[in-house]
């Protein structure tokens, strides 16, 4: 008799929802034990909201699951997310400081930073919602002068692409032009996000 996989909840940044749902589908029956719950993607700009958001979901739904994967990197929490995970049973988070890191691969991301410290990263999601999250989120639509203040020390936009999509590539190039930065394209696919979710989903061990 095949042992049932532990019931698993992934609580993720909304910016990863599409990719995680795609991975869950690709996992077939192993993906069936996984439920996804997302927090708003604009917490990217307000990392102080991430842990309270997680706490709320875990308090209301956590007891129904044997393990929970936090679909965030550190994401600007300054290590507080790791402390939160350490203080709660059966939690694990995605590797790296940001989604850019686990999409690119941790070593590759470090190499990109080493190559040019002034790299501003975009993902499929960030390209798609560039106006909402960057232009409006940073207040550049209201105060255009802030663009130079925010990006004065940046040299290039690096688009770490999850899909091969010419429309998104054109929009990423346009985003770089808007910011007055050089543009570079790297196809990463789902990177370490795929590996982590696959490993997590097929593991029978609830003590992650």
């Amino acid at each position: 008799m095949v042992k049932a996989l532990p019931r698993t909840l992934i609580i993720a940044c909304g910016a990863l929802a599409k990719e995680i749902l795609h991975l869950k589908k690709m996992l077939g029956s192993a993906g069936g034990s996984i439920d996804l719950q997302c927090l708003p993607a604009n917490y990217h700009n307000r990392p102080d909201k991430i842990i309270p958001g997680l706490e709320k979901i875990i308090a209301s739904k956590g007891s129904s699951y044997e393990r929970i994967l936090i679909g965030y990197g550190d994401c600007g929490t300054g290590g507080q997310l790791d402390t939160f995970i350490k203080n709660n049973k059966n939690l694990l988070r995605l590797p790296g400081a940001h989604c850019y890191a686990f999409y690119a691969g941790l070593n590759e991301f470090d190499a990109l930073m080493e190559e040019e410290l002034g790299s501003f990263f975009l993902t499929d999601y960030l390209v798609q919602f560039f106006d909402t999250l960057i232009i409006k989120g940073f207040g550049i639509d209201r105060y255009p002068d802030l663009k130079d203040m925010y990006f004065a020390n940046y040299k290039r936009v690096v688009y770490l692409a999850q899909s091969e999509n010419e429309d998104l590539q054109a929009r990423a190039q346009a985003a770089a032009d808007t910011l007055g930065l050089d543009y570079e394209y790297r196809f990463t696919g789902y990177g370490e996000l795929a590996f982590t979710i696959e490993t997590f989903s097929i593991s029978e061990n609830a003590n992650v």
């Binding site: 990392p47 550190d74 600007g76 929490t77 300054g78 290590g79 507080q80 400081a97 930073m113 410290l117 002034g118 940073f138 207040g139 550049i140 209201r142 105060y143 002068d145 802030l146 203040m149 925010y150 004065a152 020390n153 940046y154």
Partner: protein
Amino acid sequence: MSDDQDEEIILKDLDDDELVEQMQDDLYDGMTAEVSEGTQILLDRGWDANAVLTDALVEGMRIVGIDFRDGILFVPEVLQCANAMKGGMSLLRPILAESENSSSLGTYVIGTVKGDIHDIGKNLVGMMLEGAGFEVIDLGINNPVENYLEAIDKHKPAILGMSALLTTTMPYMGVVIEEFDKRGILKELPVMVGGAPLNQEFADAINAHTYGRDAAMTAELAKVIVGKNR
């Protein structure tokens, strides 16, 4: 702070108290031209540059700091306020520099740590420190420990401040502090740390003297530090 009245306010028609209050409102609303105009009017009326700085600009920015902390204002608005303050300070700086009875609280060396290119918060802190009466030496971004050591040697600061925006770069503050400790500098030099992902717990863990939660608070704490040291 702003209201919906369409009536234009003529700054030079206001008395001193009204003008200072109006300048604080204009600073809050990020109105650079108006803050500069108000600064010039007060100077023309014979106000001491230090008093203009303290009563109108720094006090205005202090209110901004409180509303930022309370979630009423957000980063873009605070940066507009900072730009408005900069406008006023550009008029005051040359006068303050020439002033014989300069009330400098000492030198404050500040810089963003190695691996980090973010400087908006640091620049804001630098401006508030300047407003508080410190001579600010800004080392800019991406500073290895050697830059801090060189600046300490050259400028003999009363306080040194480090800034980081990234979780990946903030541990470097600990590296710098450890090096200061090895060299016996830490006993003499208070080190302040700040930046969006930091907190008091982290500052304590790396043995920083003081954690500055925001720009206004950092300036206040820096004043307390030099007061204690004197």
